[in-house]
Amino acid sequence: MRFAVSMLTVLGVASIIGTVLKQNEPYENYIIKFGQFWFEFFEKLGLFDVYHAIWFLVILLFLVISTSLCIYRNSPLMVREWKTFKEQAAEKSLRAFSHRASFSSKAGAGIPINVVDNKSKLTQYLAGQGYRYKIKTQENGDELIAAKTGTHQRLGYIVTHAAMVIIFFGGLLDGNLPLKVQELLGQKKIEVLDIPESQVPLVSRLQTSNPSFRANMTLPEGVSDNIAFVRVRDGYLVQELPFRIALKDFRIEHYATGQPKSFESDIVITDVDLKQPLTKTISVNHPLIYKGIAIYQSDFQDGGSTVNFKAWDLAGKSTKTIDIDGQIFQKGTLGTGESQLSVEFNEFRKFNILNLSPDGKGKPRNVGPNVTYKLRDTSGQAREYVTYMQPMQLGGKSYFISGMRETVQDEFKYLRIPVDDNFEINGFMGFRAVMLDKARYPQIAQNLSKNTLTQDANLKSQFEASIVQLLNTFAQGGYTNVAKVIEKAVPEAEREKAAQTYIKLLNSVALEAYNISLAADNKPPLAQNLQSQELIQDSLNGLSDTFFYGTPHYLQLVDFKHVEASGLQLTKSPGQKWVYLGSVLLVLGIFAMFYIRERRIWLLVKTNEVLFAMSSNRKNLDLDKEFERTKDQLGQLLA
């Protein structure tokens, strides 16, 4: 028995480990966390999958064995207690009871009590109180009434403890013990390489006959499959299914606030045993059970969406673009030779619910699709980019937004490109091309000097020269470069002023450039108003930032075909019904033990006395109370 308590405690303590140390992580994570030495040590102890470690199973086994033994040992006694009325109780022992009383005949005046009369009265009384009783006549003619109630509590013990054994048995059926054994015997071996399913060798495959498993499969929309993967430690096994599952459609619905509201998959099951395919919609909390295999909505990911880009050359003086098509999880290339880059299309998101209000208090809105990709150069260096398809509203103005970061740790730095008057990016690109096209500089300079007041020819030419120089400076690094030049050329004191004049000049230069680009595809020049000034200002900022964008390739997302993949979990657990059966018994048993109270009453009816004794297997206040009540009721009866 002491053993039982310690088993319960040990199991409790052992279970803690797996809750503080995150289980079944990829092994690299553990190595990073603990270092090689401790990693191997912990791995040996099975700490990364405690609940399937041999030693843990052994503890469970101990508990069950001791429980079974306990049942085996105690049940006979319990059954006896359940059946018996203990009518053998001797007068001597009754007089030794802690809860006893005696009702003697009237003042012991020797007038014999009518035993028969009393007997019937008392038995009626006991029956009325819900007792069942048995009468035994003693040698000396006394009558012993042995009564009991609530003895079913004893069965509660058996039921409760049997339930524990049943539950564990069920758990065992669903556990991975058989697999562990097969591994030890070398009949099965987990696959650790990331190879196509078809190439996974037989030793790493589980046939459809496998009685119990918990496997995962990821199905892109429009794809079907009849295998799933069972994750084991740092590898996996292939579980073959007795039918084929196809994903017709996967849907996510959102609340107005943007949190996900539901995940649903329309799946079609095809099986030789089915006349026509079985179509069903599963969602979280609403699995489908077919052929004893439960199919759950577990998670989701991209199923290889196709994304179409226009690639602009930010460095060049042209506005020509190349079309680039990619697919999520696939690679593409940009440019040629030395400067060639590989594009890794990593993620496409159709909805992005962001809160763009400056104070963060406003309503979050859907800002439309974005795509995340990496550009990797020939030396293997990579930068990560994110690009939004539609212009974003920021402070009342719309921009094309694209972010860049050097490493996953740091935040994205965003490039904001103002839209032109028909919400396209082309306006900016045209402007950019002119700003970077040396051949255009003289023209810009002349146009500007035209409307300066002075007529002095060499003042004009000086002015134009300085503009061309300014353009060159800006074209080689934006504002920062201009700032550098100022620092070199201008003494500390006047820099502030110089900078301001430069900025002014730049703005008018930019306006000129913008109009030239407009004229080039015969559009009217910008109207002279605040809006245009802001557009120019934003365009200059945008252009200046392109120098820090990390690549001359600007990929504008122009179109996409969204393909989602649904993550399904498939489980076959023959033990489940046992576990549930055990659970029901457990509850019944526990309630029986707690709330059925066993009580026994003995009434020894003698000619001169009625001896009353009471007992219960739970000695507590309830018994005392009940004893007192019964005592004075009997007293009244016998008075």
Partner: protein, 381 residues
């Protein structure tokens, strides 16, 4: 003179019922039917059965415990009045006078907090002064705290549907809401034992743990604005929640109650307050009874949890931290019961064990959500 044995026959429940009891039950059933007609489109078959099941259960409990019947009616009336005042606009929670200051969900919960704090001090005052009258005032305060708490939850339930029909859900879905539930259930369990054993002296102890929860609620509300109603993640959209969570909190509540009684026991044993507290036997008995209740309900809750997990996560047992800690709590009290039952152990050891049990329980209830990640933290779905 021969007294008839029949006088002594204990009455069956049915025989004890008076007209008032029948009217009460009728009222509950009528309420359930009304709710069914009005809201059945939001319910699946299980939830409908819970609705009528609740009517039955609360009729029974009300019959056995008149105080509870009064509470149920009070909660019903006030909640309906509050809902009427809303007139279908959430904004009125801060405009209509009565709502703003008394019975909007937020204010009702605030009143619950205040009343619980008052009740604690009153109980202690009663204990020091040995005043039974003050004690009765304290239990009255506790009852009204419970009343306001349940009104708060009921109205919150309604409010969640005002935000948007698809957001609406029973308010036992996040830490803020279940802490309220915890206070209410623990208080009710205590009031039950108070009536049964006439132990007003214990109120001060039990309300310490309740007010600890109140403290958390206040911090959570004012520091974290956690009182905002959030829509349910898909994993929580299930009828299971409606039975799993309450069952769990009967368990948590009963265990906490037992621990507080245990602390009283240990003090009395050390001769502190001994003359004022109930006898050690009574304390021991209350401690055992509430751990028994806790264990029974915690067992049910864990089983319901397993059945839910089987439906939501694809396995009735995933050794997810919350599950595992539920098991640890359960094993702990199984061991406690065995020490008492089988080895006949009594006294300080079990009292200390019950206190340690509270720490374990608290971690299972709170620590896991805060320190350990897992399926219960609803990582992805």
């Amino acid at each position: 003179m021969n007294t008839d044995v029949l006088n002594f026959q204990p009455k069956t429940l049915w025989q004890t019922l008076k007209v008032a009891d029948w009217l009460y039950a009728l009222l509950l059933v009528a309420g359930a039917i009304f709710a069914f007609n009005k809201y059945s489109q939001h319910m699946d078959i299980y939830e409908v059965s819970f609705l009528f099941g609740a009517a039955a259960v609360f009729s029974y409990l009300g019959w056995r415990w008149k105080g509870l019947a009064k509470l149920v009616i009070g909660v019903g009336v006030i909640s309906l009045f509050s809902i009427y005042l809303y007139q279908g606009e959430q904004a009125r929670a801060t405009q209509a006078f009565l709502l703003k200051f008394l019975i909007s969900s937020q204010s009702a919960v605030m009143w619950m907090n205040v009343l619980f704090i008052l009740a604690m001090f009153t109980y202690w005052f009663a204990l020091i002064k040995r005043s039974d009258f003050v004690g009765s005032v304290a239990s009255a305060l506790t009852w009204s705290a419970v009343l306001f708490g349940f009104v708060g939850l009921m109205v919150r339930w309604y409010e969640s549907y005002l935000i948007a029909p698809d957001v609406g859900h029973i308010p036992i879905s996040n830490l803020y809401e279940v802490f309220i539930l915890f206070c209410l259930i623990t208080a009710l369990l205590y009031l039950h034992y108070e009536k049964q054993f006439n132990t007003k002296q214990l109120g001060g102890f039990v309300l310490i743990i309740i007010n600890a929860a109140v403290g958390f609620i206040l911090w959570y509300k004012f520091d974290r604005q956690a009182d905002a109603i959030q829509p349910l993640v898909p994993a929580l959209q299930s009828y299971w929640m409606k039975i799993h969570v309450p069952a769990n909190f009967v368990g948590y509540g009963a265990f906490s109650l037992a621990a507080m009684v245990a602390s009283a026991y240990l003090l009395a044993k050390k001769g502190i307050l001994t003359s004022r507290l109930p006898s050690l036997e009574v304390l021991d008995d209350v401690m055992y009874k509430s751990i028994a209740v806790g264990f029974a309900f915690f067992t049910i809750a864990t089983i319901l949890g397993a059945m839910w997990a089987a439906e939501a996560w694809g396995g009735y047992w995933s050794w997810d931290p919350k599950e595992t800690w539920a098991l640890i709590v359960w094993l702990n009290y199984a061991a406690w019961l065995h020490l008492r039952m089988v080895k006949g152990l009594r006294g300080p050891v079990l009292a200390w064990w019950a206190l340690v049990g509270l720490i374990v329980t608290t971690f299972a209830f709170l620590g896991v959500n805060m320190f350990l990640s897992g399926l219960h933290s609803y990582g992805e779905l």
